[in-house]
């Protein structure tokens, strides 16, 4: 079973493991382990990074890396929490290019810094968009 394999191999990294239903699994890891986990899921288990969800929880930031396993239709969502004052995490661009644009998007929308990304510039917003204005933060009103 793929779930057991992941559990056994990432024993030291996984903090909590929630099976919402047989096809939707969520687990939390520390932010320093993201590269190890992503390498394992993508290279060994042949999973595809569907997308990354970034959310502002007001007390901290949360990133959900959704990995899809196409052979079985399962989605493994890897949850990472980042502290509010200095949100930073390793970029995954060197592992797969699927994370290139989505990291740029999260960077401009939430102001999270992806360390090691080769060109962390605006993707959707204009170049002269104010530097400290992050639209998806909860403290920012729309408009």
């Amino acid at each position: 079973m793929i779930k057991d394999e992941i559990k056994n191999n990432l024993e030291n990294q996984i903090r909590d493991w929630i099976v919402k239903n047989p096809k939707r699994i969520y687990f939390t890891i520390d932010k320093k382990d993201i590269k190890t986990v992503a390498k394992f899921l993508h290279r060994d288990k042949k999973m595809r990074l569907s997308t990354i969800t970034g959310a502002d929880n007001e007390i901290n930031f949360e990133l959900l890396y959704h990995f899809g396993l196409d052979a079985t239709g399962e989605i493994f969502s890897v949850r990472v929490f980042l502290e509010k004052d200095k949100p930073e995490i390793d970029s995954l661009v060197e592992i797969f290019r699927a994370s290139d644009w989505v990291e740029r998007e999260i960077h401009e929308m939430l102001g999270i810094n992806f360390v090691g990304h080769h060109q962390l510039k605006h993707l959707l917003l204009d170049d002269d968009w104010p530097k400290d204005d992050f639209p998806l933060r909860k403290s920012r009103k729309n408009g």
Binding site: K20, N21, K23, R24, Y26, R48, L49, S50, T51, T53, G54, A55, L64, H66, G68, D70, A71, T72, G73, I75, S77, F96, R97, A98, D100, W101, V102, E105, M109, H122, L123, L124, L125, D126, P135, L136, N142
Partner: protein
């Protein structure tokens, strides 16, 4: 070594329906590098969704993209149902499948026409869009609107397909088969289309996996994925149909995958009409409790992904949308360089880009560099086809 020049395409350019900006860096006639600048269509839908009621969001996400205006609500509703842990009635599942497959037909025909236009074969454009009109008529018959069908809601569908509509749908689908077969034959036999598309804009399998490409773009490169089969939403697992894959990865393969998929879609619709049961069309949903849910569907362009999180109020706290074009457009970064400028127009269009999805959310002055005008690019593409036509014309004599 030839001098490096820049060819800008866009943001307003005859090649594109939508505004986006490509910077082709060329040496002579060969493209060596591509830069993509998007965001001219960004509407901030993810933030808007946080201000709207759960029911209003189906209409909001419908307007992410006009071409796949059923896929986004579908994925959103599946996410909502995943959060609630409910099943929708059987009849609703079948209605959802019928609408989704009709939408695939209309979207692929639309793309086929535009691809024909880019090669300089306006006949294909006219023929494909003529064949698309009866499909739009079906939408009007079922939902009352040619685009934006507003058929879905969390828990089921908003309106039923009346029994009187069945024979009309059957007849339209039956009439579509010969047209689709004709397109398939044209793509496989026409020497000009062959020369323009074979071996051009190849997306290698390993690049496709690295970029996380989805849908026909991935399937044309030998990546065997289809959410309809893999995730088994609705009732696709009970029907008999096949996932079309090709290994070449070039534009020809992408053309063929889409045309063959349309034939599969027709068969799916016919099977749905045979099996659709009578009964309820929705499960009542009173409120959305705290929790999170993921929904994904196979849109015409590939996997469409929605993630929602609720805190128990009547609005989501986070709604993440990942449209298929978001990953597919990025593959242009590797498929366009290495070919000539006249192929660039076609290659850029071959992923069936949809920028309004990607972003949802030739007025450039560069001093000291010679700039080709916007319309020159289509002219180059058309000229190349004319040249090839002449060669084949002479052969016949």
């Amino acid at each position: 070594m030839a001098e490096r020049k820049i060819v800008p395409i866009g943001p307003y350019h005859p090649l594109q329906e939508e505004p986006e900006f490509f910077k082709l860096i060329v040496e002579g006639e060969h493209v060596v590098e591509l830069e993509i600048d998007i965001g001219y269509n960004h509407r901030g839908i993810e933030k808007l969704a946080e201000e709207k009621h759960w029911d209003q969001i189906t209409f909001l996400v419908e307007r992410i993209c006009g071409i796949c205006s059923n896929s986004h609500p579908f994925a959103y509703c599946l996410a909502g149902e995943d959060l609630l842990g409910i099943e929708v009635p059987e009849r609703a599942n079948y209605i959802r499948m019928i609408i989704d497959e009709l939408q695939r037909l209309h979207s692929h025909l639309l793309w086929l026409g535009l691809a024909g236009h880019f090669i300089g074969y306006n006949t294909i454009w006219m023929w494909a869009w003529k064949a698309r009109e009866p499909v739009l008529d079906l939408f009007e018959l079922i939902s009352g609107n040619r685009q934006n069908y507003a058929m879905l809601k969390i828990g089921g569908v908003r309106r039923d397909i009346k029994e009187e509509a069945y024979p009309v749908i059957r007849k339209t689908i039956k009439n579509l088969y010969p047209t689709l077969k004709m397109f398939q034959k044209a793509i496989q036999d026409d020497p000009v289309i062959q020369t323009r598309t074979r071996g051009v804009g190849i997306l290698k399998k390993e690049d496709g996996i690295s970029f996380g490409a989805v849908g026909p773009t991935a399937r044309a490169s030998g990546i065997d994925i289809d959410v309809r089969r893999d995730d088994r939403y609705a009732r696709y697992d009970t029907l008999s149909w096949s996932v079309i894959t090709r290994n070449e990865g070039d534009i020809h393969a992408k053309l063929l995958v889409r045309v063959l998929e349309m034939i599969e879609s027709c068969s799916i619709i016919e099977q749905c009409l045979d099996r659709i049961p009578k009964g309820e069309i929705e499960t009542e949903v009173r409120d959305i409790p705290q929790g999170e849910g993921i929904g994904r569907v196979e849109a015409p362009r590939g996997e469409c992904f929605h993630y929602i999180r609720s805190d128990g109020t009547n609005r989501p706290v986070r709604h993440k949308i990942r449209a298929p074009s978001f990953v597919n457009v990025a593959t242009n970064l590797v498929t366009v360089p290495g070919y000539t400028i006249s192929d660039a127009a076609l290659t850029l269009a071959a992923v069936d880009p949809c920028y309004c999805c990607t972003e949802r959310s030739a007025a450039f002055t560069l001093t000291g560099e010679k700039i080709l005008k916007g319309e020159d690019l289509i002219r180059l593409s058309i000229e190349k086809t004319e040249k090839i036509k002449k060669i084949y014309g002479n052969d016949k004599k």
